[in-house]
């Protein structure tokens, strides 16, 4: 019992260095998606994977506090709004807004 408690505290101490993950590119994103329902880091994994499944998406960054997902596209790639909405929905969340860096 004491060993179990000690191990738990030790593991937490080792991991107790909050760091951001999924750093974004230096360039501004091609698409910025407002996502509703995103409330924890573990949840963000699924939406990141679904965004990367979209053909034409090169890089993804999730901004948890702002409730946003940023996409960087491959040169010349075309991604539809419906495909983005589908991917967000498959992750279990809802699209609040979509902003494109370049006019479509």
């Amino acid at each position: 019992m004491h060993r179990l408690l000690a191990f738990t505290l030790f593991a937490i101490a080792l991991l107790l260095a909050p760091q951001s993950e999924a750093q974004s590119s230096d360039e501004l994103p091609d698409v910025t998606i407002g996502v509703d329902g995103l409330t924890c880091p573990f949840c963000a994994y699924g939406i990141e994977k679904k965004m990367l499944d979209i053909e034409g998406v090169a890089e993804v960054a999730v901004q948890l506090d702002a409730g946003m997902v940023e996409l960087w596209l491959n040169p010349g790639a075309v991604v539809s709004e419906s495909r983005i909405r589908e991917a967000v929905g498959e992750a279990g969340f809802e699209v609040r807004a979509i902003r494109w860096a370049a006019p479509r």
Partner: protein
Amino acid sequence: MMLRPRCFGRTVLFLMIVAGPSASAQITSNPALPVTRGRGIVRVQAKLFQASAVNEVSDRSLTVFSIPLVAVYGVSPKLAVFGVVPVVRKRLETTELDLLARGDTFVRGPTGLGDVRVFARYIAFQSNHQGRTMRVAPFAGVELPTGRNDAADDRGRLPASLQLGSGSWDPFAGFAFTWQTLGWQINVAPAYQRNTAADGFRFGDQARVDAGFKVRVLPRTLGAGIPRFLYANLETNLIHNAASESDDEVIAGTGDTTWYLGPGMQFITQRYIVEGAIQIPVLQDLGENALRRDYIATLSVRLNL
């Protein structure tokens, strides 16, 4: 002294394996948060249950160590299916205290596969906003008779509560309510399990309410990207087991109600969760000669696949 069948075995098994590993779940219960379509989560827990009782006849101590292996798959954004496979080790140590057998100690209990549980959970209602979500998800499933219920040792067949499984197909259902923001989460999950009979014996049905509240303690403010979270949790479990039956006759002294409080902590990253909790019984209404629950300790790791 013959050990009467008690429901603590079923309580332990249910507590050990009811907790689904969905995104940012409570440690001891199942939340209503989504599982990404086509993706999965696995969870490995180590759980230690301790109960004991001393009277003028004997001193008994029960230790149950279990490793429930849990897998979840997102069939759709609203529907997830769960499978729980418990590996269980039970040990009941009894020291006879009567004049003729004073000091005689014996240990009984099996090790092996327990009863597997499979269930599905569907998000029936959700309300999502920036940085917060509220969801209600009913769930239903069945506990399968995969664990042995006929183990024996040199003292004869083990009592039902010491067996690895019940031998019966036992359906269960409930729902989870989850209200989560970036700073805290509230989760409430009532459930009911109907236990059927096997070999003339039937554990009493179980009704329970699991609830929990957790608050993010680190980081104090959120920056860019996906910070790692450290949560402080306080969970509670109110569990009622109806009396067991043998050949349709109620077994006197069985049936119990226990209320646990469970402080714990969770460290959550994008890819994995490490968590631990200790459940302490604050109220127990037990049958005569029942073992009093001492505590349940849980250590768990969850992994996004």
